[in-house]
Point group: D2
Chain length 349, copies 4
């Protein structure tokens, strides 16, 4: 079946929750491309940044994509019509020195989704941007991307079996990091969050407990350092920072001698610089190991964890929505007025 | 420039030094393929096996290939006409779970050179099978593939700085392993070889010394165990086995408590099974770590080592030849009557 | 308090369940020694070997020791009267090149318990052979040593998160390995055992299931290879061999391309040699990594895992006994007539 | 032989090159101690800090100690009279959880030299603070400690074979790091130093070249970033910082995407805090891995590297002196008026 000149309706956004629907053409695939029908697309913090703060032109929304292959270019052998796939938003090139050396994480020639919104009906992508899955529904599957981000951080942290871990930030990435830390054998996992003063924060902290966190610290109301040092006078083995750069100060206060701090919390408003005490890092032998999950790293393993139920997607995805409900869900995700953990759009739902 | 219906003359072989020249068609490249002109192709032990022992149909010879791009398919952006390239005989797919996870060494969907002889004038290969190089002549460059095999073993061996290493087998792979071990910081490197009773073995052992081996052991005339234990009563830190499986017994005799034996020496004549004392491995904490360098692993770093002169290609390549000289060089490489270390064919020379 | 010329009653054994009680003198500690009162000592397979097969002089029994410090030599600062301690049967020297390099696992100058039975009332050991613990009863604590053996193997196996693991052998070590594999994040764990034809084997397989094993294979009745390949056509990621050397054949049949086999199952009756296909290891990139947990490695982490309940000691220790009950418990442990998983002696109970 | 109530003459210092000789008593060793005669003690940057800046009471000088055992306590079996030894200034305890887990680098209960000056005639230390050596003169041997510091940093940096390395700071530690990087297989090593405007800096930069550095950058006169980026547009693989914290800015400018910065340069005058751009670290995937070589780590391997000539002690030790010459040598080391690289005191010379 050739789908000629398909039309795809998709979502774009900018500051002030200024959403726009556009219809774009999806051309028939060239030899190497694949057309997919998007069944589920998660809302990422980046999307929320766009609709809250981005003041230039409208940006395509959505990159946590679970889809179905509907047409393949003539050279494509690794996927076929009907396959269930994750679409990577950013893919290793496979031919640079780093990819060929088993280090796709250093690839600088990545393939992208070329400005197409994941919060849209269809998409055309190169064949190598797909990760097939099975035994998993689309809504759960679209957690693959954020799970992979979180997983890359957790693996980078090299959590010692039975060790102690502090996760800063209770968003979906932080919550998954906490669960993954437990799954990897941590003996104790604490997580920090804002005070449970609105439905979103309340939901996050409640889920943290259901996911097995041994301690939930409400920053502002409680001292991270005090809570940790009361239980671990020497500090925790690992800190995973899923919150903005300034929270690194808490990481340094909580980490033990010889510990590792891994972090992936960016700040785009200029608060990205902290004071670093080099003597202290040396004397306390503290390693700083950032994580930036581009290109798509750890997608295959993330799919397996979701499929086998080791990560419980159902408890994370609290809301789904279509084009009609987009504005209200995104608004609530921004202002915290609903108990949203992860919201997922169903562009063809 | 479109090169339509090119003809390529190439070399095939079977038992009894039964060589055959054939002319094959090289079709214009499809979207993803590239046509290369082969400037140099090294003779591998596998090629010698074919012309000595292979008694079925003629096999295409040569897979250590340095070439020049002369035409590219329309979708190819990673190489262009005039580029100097290594052609991988076996390439990672780039899309399987293992490739996407940074483990191309576990890829099972590899691209090949599709039966074309590296000892031929031209070849058509998929774009992802190329590794570009510069600052290096073609003859030296064609050592990339065997160097990568050797390098993979040496890196697998995790040689401790200042440590002691025994290399079994003084063929090009073993000689390069010895040099690489030194380059990685080994404090002592020994190599074993057959007695210097013919020009080939004499040349190999002499080169071993020039390359910095601290000890050359002639098996048959000397006991590997005695020579090693005289210098290292507790045994050496690492053994790299570039000779047939039966030499593993020497590896076990020479290795120290807690050491690693890495090996890539196959036997195709049925002598591939050895007795393994499991108690001994446990009590002496000896790890067995094989190396099999498929798909092309460590080609980029191998190119850099050759380009920067850290591996001296000139001392390894002792003979070059064209179609006319092929039979006599291969014969000598088999019978040892010439001081051949590495022979390289110049198919367009 | 100086305990002068203490007497200690202890257990020795040889073939035919020939047990002997002896009373030995425990002299006052010299500067570096410590006298402990033994509260619990686990029965190891080695002890069972002695009372079943050992035909020379009686051997001291017991080396899985949880005890209380009752007197310390004058230079001892790292332990004091009343401390609860594990007594290592084999301790790193702390001064050799390997210990000083952070590799106590290569230490060859180990301290021992000097022939004293762990199944005895008191013992004098050097101060550095103690690992303090708290928040844990003595019976549970005496699992530290076997847990550490098992843990060392599991850590050596480098289990991938969400990966598949096969454990060969359902003794206490194998059962703990299975649990530890789950704890480290394995997605699937199978274990093999003899058919559940006697109370001991029935108890083991039942506990395997309660501990979370996804599959229990009864060797003899079922094919390990078939059961594994039915679920994992490509084989499992890791095999941990806690059974005799001959079971390595099953390990090779079940392991996937690129997998790791880690093993610690010895055979003392001469069946310690297997046939090893070197070609197969190379082509399938299979690593053999033995584990031998001397000197005491991973005791501190094992204590933490027991203390925090990550390993459930209560389900493993099925029987305790004193001097009076020793013979019948050891007999049953040998012949399988009782549902014994781990039996623990209480020498002062 | 019992050496009762020995007297030992030693050197102490404070600000303003205020040196003091004191004679202390060396009591007969208790059971665990050893008395050594110090044949060589290197001058460390810390010693120079004391005589330049330290304004409290006089500090004992010298901790890079090569000595001879002259008497041993009755329980000491690991050393005997006549042994040549390095005395560690800071030794692992061997009994804490970290030492027992093969991580002496996290030990917090270290043994010290108890305030005794290495720049003295004799010293009494616990038996476990000794590392025996042979085949090496005392003056060369006393480089063990600084070499180990440098080596720990180089090993932490995980230098890729054939990779590029920038070392900041050309003191003895930086010079040795540069040499070690080459020894570990770096393809390119650059080093920075102050302009060659005095004899000390001139000597350092000249030695850097003799030791094989591919590039010497004079800071102040040249831009580190420009010099590196001219050769490596993408930056170098690794930066080793042997200079004060502020030079970390150069490290960030020179490092490539995905690189590792390892550092051990402290500042005691309050300039130990730098601005750290967390976004930049994340986007560029840069790891910060400090090195602090306490307790004595890598002494055994450092001894081997010196003994085997892989590190050329002779080119590093430019000056030796006794009590009489101490003041003038230390003064010149501080003000740069002599071509001093490493000065070594011979307290019994």
């Amino acid at each position: 079946m050739v789908v000629a000149n398909m039309k795809s309706r998709g979502l774009y956004g900018r500051k002030g929750l200024d959403l726009q629907e556009r219809v774009i053409d999806i051309n028939p695939p060239d030899e190497d491309h694949v057309i997919v029908k998007i069944h589920a697309c998660g809302v990422c913090g980046t999307d929320l940044n766009f609709v809250r703060d981005w003041d230039a032109q409208h940006m395509a929304l959505g990159h946590e994509i679970a889809a179905e292959v509907i047409e393949t270019g003539k050279n494509v052998t690794s996927a076929k019509r009907g396959d269930k796939v994750i679409v990577e938003d950013c893919s290793m090139c496979g031919v640079c020195d780093d990819c060929k050396s088993g280090h796709p994480e250093y690839c600088r020639n990545m393939y992208t989704i070329e400005g197409q919104p994941g919060m849209g009906q269809y998409m055309s992508v190169r064949y190598n941007s797909l990760d097939k899955f099975d035994g998993l529904d689309y809504v759960s599957a679209c957690l693959t991307e954020p799970l992979a981000v979180s997983l890359t951080a957790v693996l980078n942290a090299e959590i010692p079996l039975g060790g102690s871990v502090l996760v800063l930030g209770p968003g979906p990435l932080g919550l998954m990091a906490a669960r993954l830390a437990k799954l990897r054998g941590a003996g104790f996992v604490a997580i920090t969050g804002l005070p449970a003063d609105n439905p979103r924060e309340t939901a996050r902290l409640a889920l943290a407990e259901r996911m097995g966190c041994d301690l939930v610290i409400q920053t502002g109301k409680q001292s991270v350092e005090d809570e940790i040092r009361a239980r671990f006078p020497a500090g925790v083995d690992r800190v995973i920072v899923s919150s903005p750069p300034r929270s690194m100060y808490d990481a340094f206060k909580a980490i033990r001698f010889g510990g590792i701090i891994t972090f992936f919390g960016l700040h785009f408003g200029g608060q990205n610089v902290i004071d670093l005490d080099v003597n202290d890092m040396i004397f306390r032998k503290i390693t700083l190991r950032p994580t930036f999950a581009e290109p798509a790293i750890n997608f295959p393993i993330s799919i397996r964890l979701l499929r086998d139920g080791l990560i419980d997607a159902k408890s994370l995805v609290t809301h789904t929505f279509g084009f009609a409900g987009a504005k209200s869900v995104l608004a609530a995700a921004v202002d915290g007025s609903q108990p949203i953990i992860k919201a997922v759009m169903l562009p063809n739902g």
